[in-house]
Symmetry: C2
Subunit: 170 residues, 2 copies
């Protein structure tokens, strides 16, 4: 895949990221059986809520989502299940600056980074091979072997910039 042009708007707010097919939930099932773990209504509920969420969801948001289907889902279970999803490679945890862990789908997806709107909180993903290459060369120059990295750009998205411009000229 060539991401050098960047711009895969993979999972911004409001769009579904679950369209990968029914696969991820099945993959969780496989992982569960493989390890002698057990299926449960909650796990399916949480996995479904997560994969339908479009990514970058907080645990709080997941809890809320799940409770619409079953009000008795506990926070602890959501934490535990998300950890499970992360372990089997279906989710990955991200820390943006706000003190809450966010999860995004990770099933076979290439590495990508984030643009985050400081006004509306919208999160857009992008990937750029040239940046990745530069990172590698910088690391090498310092004797580091890169295992992972993260890049976040914070700023105002198009919509919020427009909004602000209009409000300035009323």
């Amino acid at each position: 895949m060539n991401a050098d042009q960047d711009g895969m708007r993979i999972g911004s707010k409001g769009r579904g990221g679950a369209a990968v097919g029914a696969t991820p939930v099945a993959a969780l099932g496989a992982y569960i059986e493989e390890r002698g773990l057990k299926h449960s209504r909650q796990r399916e509920l949480i996995a479904q809520a997560f994969f339908e969420s479009g990514g970058h969801v907080t645990v709080e948001q997941l809890v809320e989502r799940c409770r619409r289907a079953d009000p008795r889902v506990s926070v602890a279970t959501v934490y535990r299940t998300m950890k499970l999803l992360a372990e089997c490679g279906l989710a990955s945890a991200r820390q943006f600056g706000d003190g809450q862990t966010r999860y995004e789908p990770a099933a076979g997806r290439a590495h990508h980074d984030h643009l985050i709107c400081t006004v509306c909180g919208d999160i857009v993903e992008f990937a750029n091979d040239r940046i990745e290459a530069l990172q590698e060369s910088i690391a090498r120059r310092h004797g580091f072997e890169v295992e992972s990295h993260r890049l976040e750009l914070y700023g105002r998205c198009a919509r919020c910039r427009t909004a602000r411009a209009e409000e300035a000229r009323p």
Copy 2:
């Protein structure tokens, strides 16, 4: 300043970053008076500990450092003072993945990013204009106006890579 070659090893573990002169502490003094705040032994102590620290210190580490000079320094005061230093632009807060806020000196320093060793925790700074330029162009392509960004590369530093290689071949 041309940082395109990157590699300013500004404040790695153990090295002092306070050699900027006696200026930063004075700058804090100015800010304090300007705002009708008050000088105190603790504030000087904390500022000194911070500027001598080489950067990327946690609050916990600062408390420890300060208590060597005066065991009665409270955690709350360190938090409050670091917030003050951040407000007046002398310190900036960073969140790496470990749940603790770290502070680094920020007095008139250009933007830079971090290489973090996942084995020994060493943190090395670098700056690279080409990456910054690419970030700008990506943001523009998405209609974003960048306010700030952060880039962190996680991996094993030269020392830890060597150590591991030796242990494999005994």
